[in-house]
Subunit: 185 residues, 2 copies
Amino acid sequence: MKNSKTKYAVLGVISLLGPMSGYDIKMFCDKAISFFWNENFGHLYPVLAQLESNGLICRSDLEEGTRKKSYVITEKGRIELEEWLVGPVEYQPERSELLLKLSFGNQMQGKDIISMLEATKARNQLKFDRLNNIYDQYINNDEAMKKPQYPYWIVTLRYGITSLEASLKWCDDTIEFLNKYNGGK
Amino acid sequence: MKNSKTKYAVLGVISLLGPMSGYDIKMFCDKAISFFWNENFGHLYPVLAQLESNGLICRSDLEEGTRKKSYVITEKGRIELEEWLVGPVEYQPERSELLLKLSFGNQMQGKDIISMLEATKARNQLKFDRLNNIYDQYINNDEAMKKPQYPYWIVTLRYGITSLEASLKWCDDTIEFLNKYNGGK
DNA sequence: ACTTGCATGTAAATCGTTACATGATTAC
DNA sequence: GTAATCATGTAACGATTTACATGCAAGT
């Protein structure tokens, strides 16, 4: 559990959104932050158990009688979370399957490259639209603005939107460039 | 070896750049494509051995007497490479430590957020400058233009440049936004 | 002599995904 | 009644990273 960012994701989400179960955390990831963070049950539950046994989170008493196991963060957990928060953002080696394939483009047929780019564009357009919807609902929303995380969520949304925008433009430019290049030779 | 993209990276690089050793492949990754693809020795060598035992690559006779083991792609390897190339680009769940931390920004001190963003900006500025240098040397270079991969490498470079540009702009905007927001409240 | 770069590999650990297994509750 | 959603977990597997280990060759 040295490098598990899942650990910190869990600590952060729980510390921010009060008593939460593994299921709650998963749903929150899927619905609210999946454009920059993802978790799955198979990893989440063991980490949760480990965090509890290490005293970084503990059971809340909100679930009386149900199967649901809600957790809150402990003082010890909060300290570890803060240590991570002020530490450096770890370098993450890039791995883009799209670019890898594209760099071997001379071994592909022109139509296959274009359809790969079109598929990427379509996928990103969907993400872009979805994010923009969320953003529009969130920005200047009185309810949302009361929350202390408001400005931070705004900027993460903007990150997603900005980079998807750039990606969409690149798709268009690239399709045009390759069409011209292959037409012109 | 079902989902190993390393496998395809190796096949692609070897098929494109002729007889290559594990070391050669690693150096190529580091120097030429590290902005979108990375490999490490610990993974590379076992995969190389496996690809050879599966008949997807075979030893070339270029290394007589040296310790260096150079490989070329086989017909079987080329077929598998092409199958992967025309297949769909797999969805990769996002995981950005920067955005994860930022989304917990209300639990950080203002100065720590700003320095995190400044560090990100500085790092990306470096990458941006480096990529631009490579791009400038490559674009319209007579030597480079003769190679069949020329247009494809151009567009991958543009991808890197475009997305770093977007990221740099976002850093500036975000620093300004958060400064204003926290100053104004 | 010594450091840097070339060169290949193994072992251990870990992280994360996928598939599997189970069962309660709620809505239609 | 039955499908969807809520809810928790385990097991197996696979991919990748990190650390370790070795040794040659070339330049300074």
